[in-house]
């Protein structure tokens, strides 16, 4: 945790909402990127980012400073996304939503966006936990140990999930 984060966390714990607002400002883009990659939907990503920060504020007392604040926040965000995935009705809509949003953004750069669209749709077809492993290791550059901490599982499990996810993605994107 950076010194700035450390100070802000301490102040937020004492109920200083302005300090918490600064923490949100420091990490909002990272959390939005994560929630978007996990859901494939801008609207859901925003809701989940909100939910992540609200949960983080509620649980600040549990944060002991052992890990980086960003890692702890990641963990909350990923678990919020995994719970979101349990809603089966939305799960089926997610692929469609994702494709629609990608089409809306395309504006002429068809080939490049088509590739991105295919990649995002393929990502959405992965089981949620495998997708989380890919998002954390490939997009956010976490190593397997850090990803294991975020997902609260062993490094071996992460390695397996990354391996299985890559195999499936290669098939889907061939």
């Amino acid at each position: 945790m950076t010194d700035a984060d450390h100070d802000l966390v301490l102040r937020s714990r004492n109920g200083d909402v302005t300090a918490f607002e600064s923490l949100v400002r420091n990490h909002q883009q990272m959390i939005h990127a994560l929630t978007f990659r996990m859901t494939g939907s801008t609207a859901d990503a925003e809701d989940l980012a909100q939910e992540t920060f609200i949960r983080a504020f509620e649980q600040l007392g549990k944060f002991n400073g052992g890990a980086k604040f960003s890692t702890w926040l990641y963990s909350i965000a990923v678990h919020a996304c995994l719970n979101w995935r349990r809603n089966q009705a939305r799960r089926f809509q997610a692929h469609e939503k994702c494709a629609e949003e990608m089409r809306a953004q395309s504006n002429g750069e068809i080939s490049e966006n088509k590739l991105a669209q295919r990649a995002q749709v393929a990502l959405m077809k992965l089981p949620a936990k495998q997708r989380a492993a890919i998002v954390l290791t490939i997009y956010d550059g976490l190593n397997h140990a850090e990803a294991a901490k975020v997902l609260k599982c062993s490094e071996t499990t992460i390695s397996w999930r990354v391996f299985a996810a890559k195999r499936k993605l290669k098939q889907l994107l061939r």
Binding site: S12, R13, G15, V17, F20, E21, S22, V24, R25, Q28, Q29, H32, A33, F36, R37, T42, A49, Q50, F53, I54, F57, E58, Q59, L60, G61, K62, E101, Q105, E112, L115, A116, R118, A119, Q120, L123, I134, I138, Y139, K166, L169, K170, L173, R174
Partner: protein, 108 residues
């Protein structure tokens, strides 16, 4: 397809860009939601449990320490009183779970 190609394909997925206004307003939206629910950071349960446990242990320790002292003092008072009343007759004092007992010998 090798890992490098896969990685570059996956990295082509861009996160939708949001306006500067959105980023400016997002923290205050979170703040508004925090106000709406009107909660403070939830106090963690374990320290409170630890304090309660510590207090209970302290009370138990005091009871366990003070009770024998209290009974020893009480017995001492009884022994002194009985010895004052029957200076020549008391032979043996015994203490068990029922309290203090003493053996009185008849005068020769």
């Amino acid at each position: 397809m090798n890992d490098f190609e896969l990685k570059s394909k996956l990295k082509s997925v861009r996160v939708p860009e949001r306006s500067a206004d959105y980023w400016e307003n997002f923290p205050s939206q979170v703040r508004m939601n925090l106000r709406r629910t009107e909660f403070r950071p939830r106090q963690i349960f374990w320290p409170r449990l630890a304090w309660a446990g510590g207090l209970a242990f302290g009370c138990l320790f005091l009871v366990m320490t003070l009770a024998p002292i209290h009974f020893a003092l009480k017995n001492e008072r009884t022994i002194r009183r009985e010895m004052a009343e029957l200076p020549q007759h008391l032979r043996v004092f015994m203490a068990d779970e029922h309290g203090l007992h003493y053996l009185i010998a008849e005068q020769q």
